[in-house]
Assembly symmetry: C2
Homo-oligomer: 443 residues x 2
């Protein structure tokens, strides 16, 4: 309690703590990456700062080759930054959700509160420990599976290290890979496809959903938020997979030259990676414009609240979609899983969408002056940076210095912004408890 | 009252009446334009339908040359369709505003109600007559001024006809020109610049604002809606003009080769035309990417409610901007001209933005498959069509058949959609009368 008393005294809000922590982490990381020990050849401080920002915001856009330009030490710094940025923000968001839980009242949150008793510092520490243990257990388990695939190929040392690096990168939705072509070398490999996607889907769905599933088991008794996240993830992924399968089927630079089995794996992988993992097993720059448009939308939508992923969040998207659909059908309120969506949720969701769009718009506007690249590259990269996705059509490798700063700003705002905004908006709203309405996290 | 009783019996809502009227007008216009008497050489029915849609939705995107492919008869049909589409929708919107006025209560609306007594059929007819007389008087006056410029250049017959055509096209924010390069031949001409822009700004600011100004005179006593429209138009136009002046200053294909005076005229013209007049005095396709991004935003924002212009509307944009700015400054509510913006207005505005963005997104997605053109052309043309602007980077002239259908759908939805949506949303909302809050039209 002493700490929060101190914070009150110097008037720092939780979002400010978050921003400052992230800034310090990034600066510290940049200094480490700038050390001669981190890179094969000397790099500019701007590139060190860019790499640290990309790693800490779990984006994965790179101006240097992670595998070839950085030493084992540099790569380890990147791995630690991803872990801090992914796991750290998730933990922060879960704590915020707990603290706000009293006011908003949501099954998942109450569950967590009851289990950990958030009013005590001990309860908080216990919760953080649980999140950490859960994360490291998942990452360890996944690394073992990946090692079964990669140790035979690369030998014990490199194989194990590669497995750990990609496991951490995937769970934290960071998208950093030790290979310059990301996972294109494993386009039809079942182990890599399954383990990597399971990792980032688990990390991206949000800890509250995982905790809810762990303690509830029965789908019908899950919180509304968990239900929307689970069904929404399934629906969006299936639609995206079918879309990309049809769209790229005869594109010889992507699916066209693959076997049917590999086509299916690649469609699946490219369908799930934009929200907001950022690995790729196909060349994004060679995809059809229509596929690029869909992927851009998916990058904007993003993962779940209180997760290692970013974006406006899947629940934000579904709240808007459901309310609009209800309006167009002439219904007075949107109902899902027998719960009505309260109007303040719509307002909050639309606000997150609008502010996110504005940030991306300003980014695109500046980049259109500083970069001489195809306009769709600029649009794609701005969405990728804001969603901390890391997919690229090629712009990031050719960025000007100002362009690098713009992309860094977008990554930072994209990682911190929606959480901060959701926190600020949720705190403003104090609804009477009597309403029989459902609540979900947004942002 | 007999008519509205009839409408009630067959369950047709005002927006449905509007849609059906527009569809019939477009079909009828297409048939007329398809007649051999309308064109120099035979045209396809699809092109006739496209032209009729573009004219009736006051867009101005063309697949044929208005001046060279159509005969005097065909051009007259186009002129009549523009007048019906522009003036017609404005009149419809004013009537809707009057009918809704009782529930929402706004100075401007109450003024109109008091003057015309909307509860009687006579009051309605009197209002419609006033709007019509006002429109024709403005168009006549402007045509006289234009004739002073164009009769000496083209002789009496062509000069007068050209003046009338462009006057009608400008007041209705239609953007059709008899010249294939629009008004590029008059880039530095004061008369053409002033008259044409005054026409479409007057037509685009909304009849309720004009009526409010006419009856009120003192700015301080204007309705909140009128104040936001007047100040907002000024602010947005000045910012856009400065932006384009700087952005294009040394672009040799646009401002670069012009004198300082012409540079200023051209910056002014291109700054005001995207919301949503659609004439151009510079080659849009040669502009800087940054200018294109700004123009795209302006096309999305659009003109005023109950006007001859389209888009999400300037008030919709400002409501969101003001509320977001207030939130970011930690204020509980957004205040402008001593009025608080009620939260339902924000929700309504965000809904209009979201649905508009969705329509444009789907349009872009389809066009990206059907057209083989630079992606920025597709984006620009989709926004131009939805905003019924008519500016083009070049795509419309090269559209495939499916592409034409998509652009037609966007023009239709863009012209009818926001009004319909605003109507539906406004009707849902019944606020207690006691609030000291301001109200503005959106959509
Ligand atoms: K990522
Ligand atoms: K127009």
């Amino acid at each position: 309690m002493k700490k929060s008393y101190l914070l009150k005294k110097i008037h720092i809000s939780p979002p400010q703590v978050l921003s400052i922590t992230f800034l310090i982490t990034i600066l510290f990381g940049a200094v480490l990456l700038y050390l001669p020990i981190s890179t094969v050849d000397p790099i500019s401080f701007l590139d060190a700062l860019f790499t640290a920002t990309s790693a800490t915001t779990v984006t994965g856009l790179v101006v240097l080759s992670t595998g070839n330009d950085f030493t084992l030490f540099g790569q380890t710094v990147i791995m630690v930054l991803m872990q801090i940025g992914g796991l750290g923000l998730m933990t922060f968001a879960v704590l915020i959700v707990m603290l706000l839980g009293k006011k908003i009242g949501l099954r998942g949150r109450i569950l967590i509160q009851q289990s950990f008793n958030q009013y005590s510092l001990g309860g908080m520490i216990r919760l953080v420990r649980t999140i950490f243990i859960f994360t490291f257990a998942i990452e360890f388990l996944a690394a073992v599976f990946l090692a079964i695939r990669w140790v035979p190929e690369h030998g014990w040392g490199v194989g194990l290290y590669t497995s750990i690096f990609h496991s951490v990168s995937a769970f934290n939705n960071a998208g950093f890979s030790l290979w310059d072509d990301s996972l294109m070398g494993y386009v039809g490999d079942p182990t890599v496809n399954i383990i990597i996607t399971l990792l980032f889907i688990t990390g991206g769905i949000g800890f509250t959903v995982l905790y809810d599933m762990w303690t509830t088991k029965d789908f019908r008794h899950l919180s509304l938020h968990s239900k929307i996240m689970l069904v929404g993830t399934l629906v969006v992924n299936i639609i995206a997979m079918l879309f990309l399968f049809v769209s790229e089927y005869s594109n010889m630079q992507t699916l066209g030259s693959l076997t049917l089995g590999d086509k299916l794996w690649a469609s699946y992988f490219q369908a799930v990676t934009p929200r907001t993992a950022g690995f790729n097993s196909l060349d994004i720059g060679s995809m059809e414009t229509g596929s690029i448009v869909l992927i851009t939308l998916l990058m904007f939508i993003g993962a779940g609240s209180a997760s290692t992923g970013s974006g406006i969040k899947l629940t934000t998207f579904f709240v808007i979609l459901l309310v609009v659909a209800a309006h167009l059908n002439g219904k007075k309120e949107a109902v899902i899983f027998k719960r009505a969506i309260p109007s303040h949720l719509l307002e909050r969701s639309l606000a997150i969408v609008f502010i996110s769009m504005s940030a991306i718009f300003i980014g695109i506007l500046i980049l259109s002056y500083t970069e001489s690249a195809p306009f769709e590259w600029i649009i794609f990269e701005a969405f990728s940076a804001f969603g901390t996705v890391g997919l690229s059509m090629g712009l990031t490798g050719e960025l000007s210095s100002v362009g690098k700063l713009v992309i860094m700003a977008l990554m930072f705002i994209g990682r911190i912004g929606p959480v901060t905004l959701a926190f600020a908006l949720a705190r403003q709203h104090r609804e009477p408890v009597s309403h029989p309405k459902g609540d979900v996290f947004t942002g």
